[in-house]
Amino acid sequence: MREFKILAVVVFFTLVVYIGVEPFAHSQMHAHVEGHDFVYDGTADIEEANTRVENTKEALKKAQDELAKIQGIDDAPQEDIVKAQEAIKKQEGALVKAEETVKRKSLFWNNVASIAQLDANVSNGEASFGTCMACHNGAGINMGGVIPPSLDHVGSLYDRNYLIALLKDPAMASNVDHKYANTMMHPMGSVMAMVTSDQQIADIVEYMMQNKVGELEPKAAFEEACVRCHAVRYAKITQLGDTPEFKEEKDALAYKIKVLDEQALVKAYMGKLPPDLSMMIRARSPHYMETFVENPQTQLPGTSMPRVGLTKENYEKVKTYLEEVGDPSKPAREAIGPWVILFFVVFAVLAYLWKKSQWKDLH
């Protein structure tokens, strides 16, 4: 009995330590991010903008309190008062901007919702789709920062609502509009001049949903969705796709220079070279990965990574591929684990019987 009491004490303190340094500490380090189940209707973006309004209001209130406090002091220096007033002005400006953003985002996503309701004409869509091919031509040439991705399976890879939004305003759809507030233009920004009517958008998207479809293997889904920015060196994938085999070192080096040139362009566009994804599946938790891919801003506010608009099914494929590359031992681990544990359960039982027989005559 005494042994069980001691064991209970040991287990209790061990669990307190474990819960304290693992689940609890991590819950304190990372804010919880709610997923939206890969539905792209703008709810998340508007929520995000509203939060910013709330935060700015709070900051404004703080600045106002600060001013009141300073004014409460009899001989407060004039410069402190001016400083406090400036801080208020700054927050007021930010508030106006934040409120505008909410309005803009709501308007945009309402518009997307109404386009989704339009009756689409597929053959008109096919005709308009030709304009897309000017850039998405498979030539592998960088345009404004990235190589335009293949559209061969665009209808199955991406969410319909997202595609509508993307044709309407690529920066807003990808939730990276903050990046293009000044002079920079989204690499796909020209679409806004080429596809101008809502009907046209509905037609093109309908055409893509019906004709640009196909079942993709995890690797293919990953390459179409991610590889224009991210390399995977453990799978010999670069921003140019699969690395061919070269017999001559000279050719291999020439190819490497092509890769470096492409990476330089991606880097110039994104601000930094997007990370290699070889080990990403183990470097981030499943929840982080899912919410990040769905809406990068939620996990890394201000990041230049755009929302890609993958459907849930295709996100699973991307995840499967990253697991194949970054955690290939998972199947073996899961297959062997139960046997090893069973072995030690039997071992412990046998050892207990042995111990009992050894200690039989002692008490």
């Binding site: 072995f343 046998l350 019987l353 027989s357």
Partner: protein, 166 residues
Amino acid sequence: MSSRRDFMGMALGGFSALGGLAALYAMKRSWDPLPSVKAVGFTTVDLSGAQENVLSVEKWRGKPIFILKKSADMPSDDRDVIVGQDRYLVAIGLCTHLGCIPAYLPNDKIFHCACHGGEFDASGREIFGPPPSPLVIPPFKIDGTQLVLGEEGPEYIKMKEAGVTA
């Protein structure tokens, strides 16, 4: 000591030994050549540019491979690798005596080993000196005008069954 006591100790020991065996298997697997090593165990050689009586040397699994396109005056041999209309000698370029790399003498159309003077003809058969057997033919597969070294194609299997690969 009662027998039951011994029995439990033995049972535990025996069961632990089982676990030990499993661990030994895992350790053995950890010493196996890596997949990346095995993957480069296949070398593809393009024969379309080969010239008669000019020896080309390829590297396969760290060893030199002799590839010699035979000219018409060289006698044919059941060791010849026939690709299209042409006959080739394909052999591991290591003397069967002690493993030096013989040099090809295109005028005499023989291989001469500098270490102990062993000689082989253009079919890779030993003709002089200490070598006990012909140059070894590596596993190969013919794929159009290409040769995949390391893979056993039907032509190689036939040669192996005829006992002429070594």
